[in-house]
Every structure is written in C-alpha cells, then in structure tokens.
C-alpha cells in the first residue's frame, strides 16, 4: 500500500473480466462502505471489501489479486445482502478468485489454498464433502495436527463426524463433467 496509483493505467480488460464473470457492474458501487461494515472477516483483510470494489473500478488488477482479502472472504454473502446498490459483492469476490486461479497466481495464504483444494478434491472424487477425511488431511498437511481438536467431542456428540466411509453420490460422472467444464485448474 501507499504507493502512487497511476490512473491512466486502468486495466479495462480486467474490469470487463470481473464484470462478465460476476455479472455485476462495478461502477454501480458508490463507496458507502456498508459491505466493509458488515463483513465478519474484515479484521483479517489487508484491503477492505469496499476498497476492493473501488480498486476494481480504477482497474488495479495486481493490487487486488495479490491481496489476502480475496482469500480471507468467507462467502457469507452478508455484503451482498446489505448492499444498497444491489451489487452481489460475493460474486465479485468469487470472480476475483477465479481470475487469480486461472492465471495460476500464488494464493497469498497457503492454508486457504490447501483447504479449498481438499474440499474440491473431495467433491470431485466422491461428489460430496466428507468431514473426517477433510479434517485429517487439513490438519496433517497444514502441520497443525491438533487444530480444532477440542471441538471433536462435541461434534461427535451431535453425530456430525462419520468414521464409516460414505458412498459416492450416484451421479459422480455429472459432477466430474462440471469440473471439466469449469476449466479451472484443479491442482
């Protein structure tokens, strides 16, 4: 941050890309900041949601795609629900993540990418998310072996953890087709 922004270098292609993927018009944003005010993850973000919207408006692609914010976003949709200009900000953030992965940019927070990858591979292979393998894989590969282990007893008590391997969904072929059609790198 705090470097000089050259407004002539507005990356129009990037703006169109974001708008066509998200189907949102970013010039609609009038910078009231209600998205940031609503965001439960703002305290983790290096660039607040309204600033992300503004940076798209002025076409600052690198600054956005190198930020933590697009990966910290929880997709909780609170911003979208509260936007007075009816912009689906969550879709805009999705679009930013899609562009980032398409360009094979490094994800600034390693464990976020790890988590996404495990979730997606689970869905690709089984057609559904299996919690126990997710937890095991994530804790193992992230090196945080006892991460959230204290939650295990209460999750068990409520029957949220299933150790018996679940069946794949019946239409696993169709699921795989979705993956191949999306052409998103699944590395």
């Amino acid at each position: 941050m705090n470097k000089l922004i050259a407004l002539n270098n507005v990356n129009q292609k990037f703006i169109h890309q974001v708008e066509s993927i998200s189907k949102q018009k970013v010039s609609n944003c009038y910078q009231c900041g209600k998205c940031t005010a609503s965001c439960p993850a703002d305290f983790l973000m290096d660039i607040s949601p309204n600033q992300i919207m503004h940076l798209i408006q002025i076409g600052q692609k690198d600054e956005i795609l190198n930020s933590d914010s697009i990966w910290v976003c929880l997709s909780c949709i609170t911003c979208t629900a509260r936007c007075p200009r009816e912009i689906d900000i969550t879709s805009v953030f999705n679009a930013l993540r899609i562009i980032s992965r398409k360009e094979k940019r490094p994800v600034s927070i390693r464990n976020v990418k790890l988590f996404f990858d495990i979730v997606l591979s689970s869905i690709k292979n089984q057609g559904r998310l299996n919690e126990v393998p997710l937890l095991l894989k994530y804790n193992l590969w992230s090196g945080m072996l006892l991460n959230d282990a204290d939650l295990a007893p209460s999750l068990l008590g409520r029957g949220k953890l299933h150790f018996i391997r679940r069946h794949k969904v019946k239409e696993i072929k169709e699921i795989r087709q979705i993956f191949s059609r999306s052409r998103i790198s699944d590395s």
Binding site: N2, L4, I5, A6, L7, N8, V10, Q51, H54
Partner: protein, 657 residues
C-alpha cells in the same frame, strides 16, 4: 388608564427559566394595572381570544404582552387588538424570551430581570398615544434588474398578470449565464432551446420594456413609489434601427476577445453576442474599435467599415450616455452570479495553462453555437482530448480563498459535463475528483449514477494537490482518500468546477437599493426560511443566484415567487405606512439640516415656513423610523413617534426605581 398585562409561557421556552406566575402576580399590584394573567401560548388562537375578551370585559385601554421578540409577533398582537376597536399602538411588547429566558440559566435572577423588563414596558405604555397610519398611492409598475433566467421568469409572470415591467440588463442581450450553457442537468435538454422561447417572449411582450446595455444609476423613494434612474451605456449602434444581420461583425477588421465564449476563440470589436440574442443587435466595444482607438490617439482614422457596410445606417459613433427615469412601485433584483476566478490557485497553474479551463469555458466548447461548433478541442493545440479530468470545489468549501460555502451546482454540472463528454467523445475517459457528491434535488442522485454507470465517469474522492505540464499533457496529482493512496492522471484537458460568487457590482447596487448583503457579497433575504425572496427594505425583492448559489429550477422558482409577492403588493391601490416615524417640531428647528445628511432614506425635505425660515420636514410615507435624525438633531426638535423622549425616560426611570 386601565392597563392589561399578559405574560406568555411559550411552552417551556419562557416558563422553563422565568417564573411567569410570579411575574404576573407582581405586575397585578402595580398602579393602573387592572388585569394580569399568564397564558400558555399567547400567539395561538385561544391566546389571542383571551386578550380580545379581556379588552372588552375589563375595558382595557393599554396592553402589555411579555413574550418573544416583537419581530416575531408584534404584528400578530396589533391585529388582535385592532379587532376590538382599540388603537393598535396603545400596546407594547416586553421581550422576555430572546432577551431573558433563552440567555439565562438562573431562574431567580431571570425572573427578576423579566419583572424589570416588564416594569419598563408598563411605564412606557402609560405614555403611549393613539397613532394612525398614512396611506400612499401605489405605482403599479415593477422594475426588474437583471435579465437572466430568474429576471426573465419574474418579468413574464408580472407581465402576464397585467403589470407594466421595466427589465434592465447590463449586457447587450438578456439570457444571462443560462444562455452560455450547452445542456442542463438533470435532463440533458438543450439550454438555449428551453431559454430562447422565454427570451423572445420577454422581448416581444407588450407589457415589458426592455432596456439592455444599461445599469442602475440611482434609486430613491419607497415601497409603492420608487424613482429609478437608469444609465444606458452607448453601444454606438442604434438599437431601434439595427436588424441584427451581422454584416458589420463579419466585415470588422478589429479583433477582440470573445466575451460570450469567455476568451475561447476570437471575436470582433463590433459583435452580436450569440445568434439567439434578444434584442438581436450589434454593439461596439470601444476599447477594441480601431476608430475609437485612433480617435484617442488624436489621429483621424477612416475605418468606420461597420458604418459603411450597414444597410440600415444603424451604426452611430456619436451616441452618448443616456439616462432614463422610471417610476415604479416595486423592484425585483435578479443580478445573478459570477464564477470564481481560479487564477488564485497557483497549484492548478494560476490560469497559465491553456488546457486548464473553467467549467463555463467547457460549456462553450460543448455548445454547438460555441467557438468550436460543439467539437471538444482543447485550447492549446486543438487536439481532441482522450482523458478529461474534472476537479470539484475550485473556490468552494475552501477557507484559504475566503470561500467556505458550497456552491451547490458544481457536483451536478460536473456530472452533466462528464455525460456530455462521453456523448461527444465515446472513446474518452473522464475522472472526477470530488470531496463529497451533493445531489440533493429531484432526480439529481439518479443523474450522478447515470454519469458513473452509463457514462463511466470515474469518481475519485480527494482534492487535487497540483497540476503540471509534461509531454504535451497535464499531470494531475491527487489522492484517493478511500484507499489512502496518492493517485496521478495524465490528462489532456482539465476542467475546473469553479464556484459561485456574487455578481460583479452587486454590492454597489445593494447600496443604491439600501438592502443588506452578506460577507461574500450575496444579497440578504428578509428571513432565511420565511422570507426567502423579500429583503428588509419594503418593496424590494430578490430572485435567483444574487441571494446565494442556485441552480436553474430554483432560480426560476424564485423568479415566479417574487412575481407572486409583487403582484400581491401592486394589487392594492393604496399602501398603509407605519405611523412610527419621525416628526420635526418646526418651531424649534434651527435649519442646520444635519438630519438631511444622515437620513438613509431621503425622507427629509427643506420647507419654508410662513415667516420665511427654512426648516426640515419629514416625509412620513418615506420615513422608516430608524431614528438617526432624532439622535443627530442638535436642537432636539425631532421626535420619533412611539419612541418619544418622554416614553424612553419613563422606561429608564422605571428601571432605576
């Protein structure tokens, strides 16, 4: 003498600080007071009924009301008293709100002060006498100063109402600033298309006498009977003969800056301001005319080409200043505004960069009748700009240049100019540096959204720090306060949103009209909310941006509002004047006429008595009762009715008792 006393609670405004019951009790024991009560809201209908009933039942002959300022309700109570048949001047108000309850906290001391104020008033009212208004005939003609959209609207509404109108305009044509605009917000309709029909109507209306290229020389008189001297400057063209063919302008060899286009493009020494001018006549600017310049140098020059080519022999170099006297009953001031001159902003080039232009100059570039025939070409090299930067609040919201107020119109005209830029140059990119976007009227916010979303104007929140030329362009260095980062744009053209300032010469005019103006030179309305088009001088009204920054809809509304007010005034055959005026006791007057010198209303005249002595005399219909002459008179021979020495001394005695 039977004095009635009424004290007002004014809800908790007075009763919250002053013990009104105690005051009423105290007053009831004073001599001559036969009735003393406290009322919740004296000005309300039930409150007024109590007064009226008490006057009738208790046969009251003097009334004192302790309440708010007499500015607020003196007239209300006088009317109520008049309804009972009692003379309305046998009444006096004690101001225990603005002068007491609102400015004190200590209940005991405030109550004591209220008692003292009331005692003074009671002592004064005992010395009041019945006073009667004078009646004066009303001249049913109105003078309108300024032929912009506000003045034109007022003139048309007055004339349509059947009243004679004299419309005086400083420039050779009416139309004002609106005539210079290309399109108008928030509808993007062509400014001249909606203005010129009104201009033509004003020019042709049988009830409107148009005097252009003229200014107000002097004003005397009073409401209903003003006398105005209009100075008609010599245009060196006989406006009666000129048919506006424009051949003189085409043939004139003397180049001059084009005033209507604000210096963009060239003009001639003899010119017709614009094709739709009303009246469409030519005018010579003396300082650029070859004939006049050679005359000043003592040489004989035979240029006079305009005179030779004129088919109707309208050009006349011998025309002299002309003075026209008009008698009118009311005056509407609609002298408009000027744009802030941005040359004080050295960081924006101080006016030295040709491609840093004012918003009104940009209007002329956009206009199809402008110097570039509606093509946006930047002044330096005629290149079409690809990147246009707009900067808001140039001479607005800036204490450092003495303009702390918001000009109100710039946010909207910037949005409009951004939309028009996109219309003219679809490939262009516009940036608007703003501090806040103020779009607070009907359809305005939607219009700004249109600029942002449809025209793609990129709004950047922050002031621009500096502009400097580089590689044939202009580097604009600013900040994006939403990101907290400095930003920079390479611009081809920079358009400044110049703020609104009072019209040049409007303060001198205000002095002639004896109306007040504020620290920025805008003319002051009678009350910021309740008298928006009146002034403190009876019979003089304000319309449009001379009172403060205003957009076209508001100016038109004020033009019509003043017409409504003036029609109300001029629909009367006679006006009642206040009897609270000065009176000269001619037997004591020593004829020094110091009063005549100090009177701001020219209300004092010299009269010769039967014994041949020359003394002062007050014209009661002109006198406004200010009291300056009373204080000035060395022989104490002038009294102000309603404020006589006797009455004032009684007040002081009551206070010192």
């Amino acid at each position: 003498m039977r004095i009635g006393f009424f004290i007002c609670h004014c809800g908790s405004n007075i009763a919250g600080t002053v013990d009104v019951v105690q005051v009423a009790e105290y007053v009831s024991k004073l001599p001559n007071v036969v009735h003393s009560v406290h009322l919740m809201y004296t000005c309300s209908q039930p409150g007024q009924k109590e007064i009226v009933d008490a006057i009738k039942e208790k046969r009251l002959t003097r009334i004192v009301i302790a309440a708010c300022s007499p500015k607020m309700h003196e007239v209300t109570f006088r009317r109520a008293i008049e309804r009972t048949g009692l003379n309305p001047y046998l009444f006096e108000m004690a101001n225990i709100r603005e002068h007491c309850s609102w400015i004190h906290d200590d209940r005991e001391l405030a109550t004591q002060k209220a008692i003292e104020l009331v005692e003074m008033t009671i002592a004064k009212v005992a010395r009041h006498e019945s006073l009667f208004s004078n009646k004066v005939d009303v001249n049913k003609k109105v003078l309108i100063i300024g032929g912009g959209i506000a003045g034109i609207q007022a003139a048309l509404d007055m004339a349509d109402g059947g009243f004679e109108v004299v419309l005086v305009e400083r420039e050779p044509t009416i139309g004002g600033k609106m005539a210079q605009l290309d399109n108008t917000f928030p509808t993007i309709d062509c400014s001249s298309c909606i203005l010129t029909p009104k201009m033509v109507d004003a020019g042709q209306h049988e009830k409107i006498k148009l005097i252009t290229y003229a200014e107000i020389e002097s004003v005397s008189g009073y409401v209903g009977n003003f006398e105005v001297k209009v100075h008609k400057k010599p245009p060196y063209v006989n406006y009666e003969k000129c048919i506006g063919c424009g051949i003189c302008e085409r043939k004139c060899p003397a180049k001059a800056p084009n005033r209507f286009n604000l210096g963009i493009g060239e003009g001639k020494a003899i010119y017709i301001p614009f094709p739709q001018a009303v009246p469409k006549v030519a005018t010579i600017t003396k300082e650029h005319c070859i004939y006049f310049k050679s005359l000043a140098e003592g040489k004989l020059n035979r240029c006079k080409i305009c005179q030779k080519v004129c088919h109707v022999s309208a050009v006349d170099f011998e025309i002299k200043d002309e003075y026209i006297n008009e008698k009118v009953g009311a005056i509407i001031t609609a002298v408009g505004f000027d744009l802030f001159n941005h040359s004080v902003y050295q960081e924006y080039g101080g006016g030295r960069y040709p491609d840093v232009i004012s918003s009104l100059q940009y209007e002329r570039l956009l206009s199809a009748s402008g110097p570039t025939e509606g093509k946006i070409k930047r002044p330096s090299d005629g290149k079409e700009p690809e990147t246009v930067v707009f900067i808001s609040c140039v001479g607005s919201r800036d204490d450092s240049v003495g303009r702390p107020y918001c000009s109100g119109i710039c946010c909207m005209y910037m949005a409009k100019q951004a939309i028009l830029t996109k219309d003219h140059l679809p490939e262009s990119k516009t940036f608007i540096f703003y501090i806040d976007i103020r779009a607070g009227s009907k359809a305005y916010e939607e219009f700004v959204k249109r600029a942002q979303v449809e025209a793609g104007a990129q709004y950047i929140r922050g002031r621009v720090a500096k502009i400097y030329p580089e590689n044939g362009g202009l580097i604009v260095r600013g900040v994006d306060t939403l990101l907290g980062q400095q930003v920079e744009v390479m611009a081809d053209l920079v358009v400044l949103a110049n703020g609104v300032i009072s019209s040049r010469g409007s303060n001198e005019l205000a002095q002639k009209l004896r109306i007040p103006y504020d620290q920025y030179g805008f003319l002051s309305e009678g009350h910021p909310k309740l008298k928006p088009v009146e002034t403190n001088t009876a019979g003089i009204f304000l319309a449009g941006a001379c009172q403060g920054p205003k957009d076209i809809p508001s100016s038109v509304a004020q033009g019509s509002a003043t017409a409504g007010k003036v029609q109300g005034l001029l629909s009367k055959d006679q006006l009642e004047t206040s009897p609270l005026v000065a009176l000269v006791e001619c037997s004591r007057c020593i004829g020094c006429f110091k009063c005549l010198k100090v009177c701001p209303y020219n209300a004092i005249e010299r009269i010769t008595l039967k014994d041949g002595s020359l003394v002062a005399s007050v014209i009661p219909t002109v006198c406004q009762g200010c009291g300056l002459c009373v204080a000035t008179c060395p022989s104490a021979s002038i009294t102000l009715k309603g404020f006589t020495d006797d009455q004032l001394i009684a007040e002081v005695e009551a206070l010192c008792r």
